[in-house]
Symmetry: D3
Subunit: 278 residues, 6 copies
Amino acid sequence: MTTIFEKLLEEDTSFGDITSEVTVPEDLDAHAKVIAKEEGLIAGLKYLEEKTKNFGLKVTLLKKDGEFVKKGEVVALLDGNARKILLIERTFLNILGRMSGIATATRRVVEKVKSVNQNVRIAATRKTFLGQLDKIAVIIGGGDPHRWSLSDHILIKDSHIALVGLEEAIRRAKKTSFIRKIEVEVESVKDAVKAMNLSVDIILLDNFKPEQISKVARLLKTKGLRDKILLEVSGGINEKNITEYAECDIDIISIGALTHSTKNIDFSMETSLKQKKT
Amino acid sequence: MTTIFEKLLEEDTSFGDITSEVTVPEDLDAHAKVIAKEEGLIAGLKYLEEKTKNFGLKVTLLKKDGEFVKKGEVVALLDGNARKILLIERTFLNILGRMSGIATATRRVVEKVKSVNQNVRIAATRKTFLGQLDKIAVIIGGGDPHRWSLSDHILIKDSHIALVGLEEAIRRAKKTSFIRKIEVEVESVKDAVKAMNLSVDIILLDNFKPEQISKVARLLKTKGLRDKILLEVSGGINEKNITEYAECDIDIISIGALTHSTKNIDFSMETSLKQKKT
Amino acid sequence: MTTIFEKLLEEDTSFGDITSEVTVPEDLDAHAKVIAKEEGLIAGLKYLEEKTKNFGLKVTLLKKDGEFVKKGEVVALLDGNARKILLIERTFLNILGRMSGIATATRRVVEKVKSVNQNVRIAATRKTFLGQLDKIAVIIGGGDPHRWSLSDHILIKDSHIALVGLEEAIRRAKKTSFIRKIEVEVESVKDAVKAMNLSVDIILLDNFKPEQISKVARLLKTKGLRDKILLEVSGGINEKNITEYAECDIDIISIGALTHSTKNIDFSMETSLKQKKT
Amino acid sequence: MTTIFEKLLEEDTSFGDITSEVTVPEDLDAHAKVIAKEEGLIAGLKYLEEKTKNFGLKVTLLKKDGEFVKKGEVVALLDGNARKILLIERTFLNILGRMSGIATATRRVVEKVKSVNQNVRIAATRKTFLGQLDKIAVIIGGGDPHRWSLSDHILIKDSHIALVGLEEAIRRAKKTSFIRKIEVEVESVKDAVKAMNLSVDIILLDNFKPEQISKVARLLKTKGLRDKILLEVSGGINEKNITEYAECDIDIISIGALTHSTKNIDFSMETSLKQKKT
Amino acid sequence: MTTIFEKLLEEDTSFGDITSEVTVPEDLDAHAKVIAKEEGLIAGLKYLEEKTKNFGLKVTLLKKDGEFVKKGEVVALLDGNARKILLIERTFLNILGRMSGIATATRRVVEKVKSVNQNVRIAATRKTFLGQLDKIAVIIGGGDPHRWSLSDHILIKDSHIALVGLEEAIRRAKKTSFIRKIEVEVESVKDAVKAMNLSVDIILLDNFKPEQISKVARLLKTKGLRDKILLEVSGGINEKNITEYAECDIDIISIGALTHSTKNIDFSMETSLKQKKT
Amino acid sequence: MTTIFEKLLEEDTSFGDITSEVTVPEDLDAHAKVIAKEEGLIAGLKYLEEKTKNFGLKVTLLKKDGEFVKKGEVVALLDGNARKILLIERTFLNILGRMSGIATATRRVVEKVKSVNQNVRIAATRKTFLGQLDKIAVIIGGGDPHRWSLSDHILIKDSHIALVGLEEAIRRAKKTSFIRKIEVEVESVKDAVKAMNLSVDIILLDNFKPEQISKVARLLKTKGLRDKILLEVSGGINEKNITEYAECDIDIISIGALTHSTKNIDFSMETSLKQKKT
C-alpha cells in the first residue's frame, strides 16, 4: 500500500533524479552514513528501514526509535546502488527530521508534566501534516496519539453543538454502536455539568483556566463520577504554562503545537564509494 | 488527479467522520466562517477554494493569497451541507495554517534581505512536507521555489562529487540536454574556482562564511564571469545573521528552515445553522 | 474516492459492454424501472442513487431504504443514455439485492429478539463481502455494525490470548490511548471472571450455552459491575435458537450469518425506449 | 495489480489492526492452522497462498482446491510474523469460506444434473460479489464461468431487444468482429424461432417451462440446426426442479443462486506461538 | 476511470505546465482552432471531445470521426481557460494525429481489398501502443479490431503448440467455456488440415504464400467445412502485395503495420484571445 | 510505481491470458528466445529486463541497448514459468520494437548530420506515445531528449505570444526561478531579433528556410551574442533535406517524426519447453 513515504518520494522524483542519472554510473555501489547534526530523541528509523529495504538497499540501524542521540552520532548505515541512495536521501531525511522533532518536543513536555502530576497523559491533536507518522512520533516521545482520524472516535465539538444542541447530540451518539466511547468538548462550566449529567465518557474542557478546570473536577467528584468520566484539557497551553494545568485533577492535556509547529531535528547523509567502510 | 489535499483527507477520514454521521442530520445545511486567530500573511486560499468546491460547497473568499490578515478577521465563508463542511474542516485548516506560516516567515526574511540588498532572492529547499504546496507558499511570500523536485534541475552536490569527482561530474552533466542549467555545490574556495573554470551556470556555496563568500565573488569578477555565473549561498543562515550574508555580492540565499521548522498560523472554522448569516 | 461500486463495475466492464456497444445506438435515451421480484426490506437505494447520478443518469426513488416492498413494486426509475443504464444494470442490482437481503434478515432477527428482550442489540461481524455496504445494510435492518474494521476497536480474541496471555494482553491494551473501550473474547466462565476483575469494558462470551451465560451475568451483578461491563454473546446462534439466548441478561448478540450466508432479494431492471413513460 | 483480496483487506485495515499492535509484540513469530469447521469442497487455497506469501508468511497447503474436506480437517498452515497473520486472518477466511461455499453448491448441482444428462453444463451468471473469484469457485466446483464480464461475450437480452428490436440487434451484432459468438435471450417460442432463422450461435431460453424447452429443441432439430446452435436455459431453476430441466435436449443451465445466495463454508484460524508445531 | 489520455497527460505534466503558469494570467480565456495540416481520415475526435470537456472547456466539433479532411480544414474549436487549453494541447494533438493516421491507412487498405474481394475483412493485431484507441481507429477506418486483448479470444499460437502440441491444445480449449470461438494459428498445410479435422472455428494461416492459402481453402471446401470454419491470413502482407492475398478464398487479412508503424496525420492548434471569433 | 509497461500490459490482459490458461499447464517451465527479424539499433532491453524480472522470470541479455543487431540474431533469453512468458510476450515485443525503431532512425539522422556539422544536436519533440520510453530511445540513438514534459523547461511558443505578447511573456518568465533557461519560439527574423535583445537563453526558429536561419545566426554573431544564445531549428525538416539545415550555424535540430511516425523494428519471441537449450 502507498504510504506517506511513497507519496512524498513521488512528488520529489516525478520523472527521476536527473542529476544522479547524468553524473553517477548506473551500477555504482555506495555507502552512506545518516548523521545527527544536533541532539534529539530519534523517531522514524524503524519505518524508514522498511521503506529503504524496498529499494533493494541494505540498512543497518545503529540507534533505535526512542533513543537520545548526540550531535555527530551516526544513526544508520545504507549500502547499495548509489543512484537509489541518492534518490531517497531527501525524503528519508525529511521524515526522520520531522518525526524526531516531534518526538523530542513530546518527550520534553511529558517529562515536565510527569514531574508535577504522574496521572496526566500528553496527547496529540489532528493538526498533523504526515498523518500517521506524526502520531507515531508522538507515541515514541511518550505521548498519546488521541484519535488517529475522524473515523475512530466520537468527539462532539462546538460545531456539532451549534448545529443540533448539546443534549440532542449526546442522545444521538448514545444510540450508536456500543463499541465506542463518547467525548464532548465544552466551553463553559455550565456545559461541563450538562455533559456530566448525560454520562458521557470523556469531557474536553476547551480554553478553560486552571481554576475553572479545578472547579469542574470538584463537581465531578461531588457527583461521584470522577472515576467514570475522564477530563481532558486543551487550548492556550504551551511549554511555559503547562505545569499550572498539570497540577489540576485532570487526565489528559492535548497540544496542537506538538505537530503543527514542529522544530525539525537536523540529520544529514554522507555518501562515499562502497570500498570505504565505516 | 489526487493532490496532497485528497491524500491528507483520506488519512483523516478513512471510513468517514463518525461523529458527524452520528450527530448531524444528513441533509442539514450549514454556514462556516474561517477566522484568523493570529496575524500573518495568508497563503493557500486559492488552492483550498478549488478543493472545497469539489465537495459541492459554496466558497466565498474575503481575502486573497498574499494579503496580510489581522487576528479575528474572517478570510473565507463556506456554505452547504453541514457534514461535508465538518468533513474537510481540519484538513482545510491544517493546509491553510501551514502555508500561511511558511508565507509569513518567507515575507519577513525577504523584506529583511531586500532592505540590505535588492538583488538577492530568498529560495526554498527540498526540505518540505507538503510538496508543491510548501513551494507555492514560499512564492506567495515572495521567495523563489528553487527546484520543485529532483526531476527539474541539475544540482551536483557533495555526494555526486564524492562518487565521481567534481570535474567528471560537470563534464558528464554538460553532455546532457541543452535545456538545463548546471549548478554545483562546493564546500571550499578551491572547489568554487574549479567550478568557475568549468563554466557552470550556478555555484552554490555551502556553509561558507561571509568573508569567504566575498572572496569567491571577487574572484568571479576578476575572471570576468560575474554576469555569467549565479552565486547561491546556504547553510547555517537564520533570521538573525542573514543580513551579514545579504550584504555579500550574491544572487540567492536558500533556507531550509522556511519549510522544515514552520510556525503554524492559527485559523479556526466557526460553523452555524444556515439561516444565521454573517 | 473509489468505492465498492466502482470496483465491482470495473471488474464487470474492464473494456466496456460490448453487446450494447454493438447493438444500441450511442445517443439513444432509455427509461428503466427497478422492480422487486420478491418482498423484502429495501437497502442500498440511497447509496446507488448517488453512484448512478455520477453516470449522468436521472434517478427517481419511489421507495426509501428501510421500507418494506412487495413483489412487483417499482422501487426506482432511471432515465438517460441507454448504454449507460445497461452498463451499470447488473452492478446496481447485485448491490441492491445483497443489501436488501442482509437488511431483511437483520430486521427479522431483531424483531424476534425484541419480542423477548428489549435490551438486546443484534450486531454484525466482520464476515462481510462488500465491506461497509454490508454494515450499512445491517444498520438499515435495525442492527448494530459492531466494529467497521480492525482499525476501530480493541477486541482481544483467542489468538491474542494464545500469544501473550489474557492478563498481559489486557494490561498492554489499557496502556494505550484513552479514547477506546477494551473488549475481550473469552471461552470459559473462568476467563470471563478474570476479565471482570481486570475491568474491561465489554466481555464477549464465545460459544457459551445459555446457562453459562446466565452464570456470568449473575457473577457480574454480584460483583456490582453489571452496569460497567457490557456482555456480548456469539457462536452457534441462529434464527431457531436465538430466543433462548435473548432471554439471558445480556446486551449484544452478534451473528456472522447475517452477512456471510445472505439470501439475496431479487430485483430486476426493465428498460424501454424513452418515450414510454411509467 | 490490486485484486479483490487487497481491496477487502484495505477496507478491513484502513489504518492497521489496532488490537494486535497494542497486545502482540512486533517481532513475535506465530504458527496458525486453517481448519474446516464443516465439510465441503475446498476452493480458494491456491489464490490465497499467493496473497499470503506477499506478506512474507510461509504457507503450507495440506489440501488442494477441488478436494472434499471433512469437519475438523486442517487445510493449510501459516508460519511467520504474528501480527501479519492476524492482519490477514479474517480476509483470508472470508474468501476461503465464500469460494468453498460456491464450489460446494456447484458440485452438488453438477452431480445431480450429470446423473440425468451427461451433456448439460452448469453455468454461473454475473450475479457475483467477488468478481472473478466467484467465477473461479464455480469452475473448481465443475461449473462453467459463462461470460466473465460485459466485455467478453455478446449476449443480446430483453433490454437490447426492447430498444432496437430482435432482428436489428442480431444484424448489428453480426457486423462486428468475427472472433465472437452471438447469443440471444428469448422469452417465447416465437422469438426462439426468429433467432434460429437468423443463425445465432447460442439461444438462451429465459423462464421457459420444460415442455416449451423441448419444443424449441425439436424445432431446432427439424431445421437441421441442432448441431450449429447451443441451447441454454435459465430462470426459476433450483436444486429441487433442476432434473426436470436437465432431462431436456439442452446444452447449458445457468443458475444465479450459485453465487448470489451462497451458503458460506465455515473455516477458522487457530494461532499459537511458533514453538508449538502441528 | 483513468484512460490513455489521462496517463499520457500525466506523463506530460507531472507538476504542471510551467511555461503557461509563468507567462499566461490564471483567468485568461482563449479560443483555439484544431487544424488539419495534411489530408486524411479523421479519428479520435469523439473520444477527445469527452476528455476535453472534463477540463471545463467548451468543444465544438466541425468534423466527425470517419470523415475525410483536407489540408487546412478546421476540425474542432476549443473555448475556455487559456492555461487549460495549453495544458492539453499536445496530448490532444498526439492522440488525434495517431488515430487519424491509423484510420487513414486502414481505409486505404480496406478499399484496395474490397475492390478485389468484397468478402475479406481487414483486421488489426495486438501490435498497438495506445491500446483500445488504436483498435477504435482501425474500426473507424473500416477495419475489424480482432481481439482487444489476451482476455477476450482463444487464439492458439505457435508457442502454445510448441509447449503442449496442436491436438492437446485444441482438446483443452474445447473443454472451456461454451461462449468462445477457438482459433488456431498454423504454419503448414499439414497443420491446417489437422485443425480442420479437430473442427476449430477459425484457422489463421501464418506466412502462407497465396497458392498455399488457396490449397487450404480448397481442402476445406472438399471436406464440406468451408461455411463452418473461417480462414484468416497474416504475415508478410503489405499494401503492395495485398491484392494477391485478397484474391484467395479467405475471410480475414490481419496486418500489424496498421498500428505498429503508423504514419501520423499532422494537426495543429492555433490559440488566440477569446474575443477573436472564427 | 506504475510505468508504461504495466499500463500497456494491463490493457492487454485485463482479466488474464485466456488462451494460455486454457491450454498451458500452470506449472510448466519454458525457454524463450527474443529474435531480431530485421536489422536495427537495439533499444529498450535494459528497461524490459527489469520489468520481466518482476514476473519472476530469468532474463539473459545477449545484446545491449545501443548495439546494432542483424536479422536473425538472438538478443535475449527468457526462462521460467511458461504462462508468464506468454503473458508479457506481446507487450515486451511492442516496446522493444518501437524503441528500437526510434533509436535506429535517430542514429541514422544523427550520423547524417554529424557528417556535415559536428556541433549540431538532434533533439526529439513532445510528439511521443510511450512518454519517457520514446525519449530514452532517442538518447540511445544518440539524440537529445529536449524537455521531458511541460514541467521541466520554459519554452514560450506562438500560443503564449498570441495571448500575452512576446516581450511580456519573456519579462514574466525572467521573474521566475533562477534555475531555468528561457527558450522562445519565433516565426520571423524580426521576432528572432526581439528575442535576442531580451537575452533569452535559446531561440527556436520555427519553419525557417536555411537562408533565413543563416541570417539570424549572422545577426547573433554581429551582436556578440552567439556564445550566449543557442539556436534551435524545427519544422518541415526530414531526412532528405536535413543536411541543408545542418550546414547552418545552429546548435539543435528537433524533429517530431522521430517519434510520431516511427517505423517499428520487428522482433519475435520463440518459446519452447524448458529442456530444449539454445
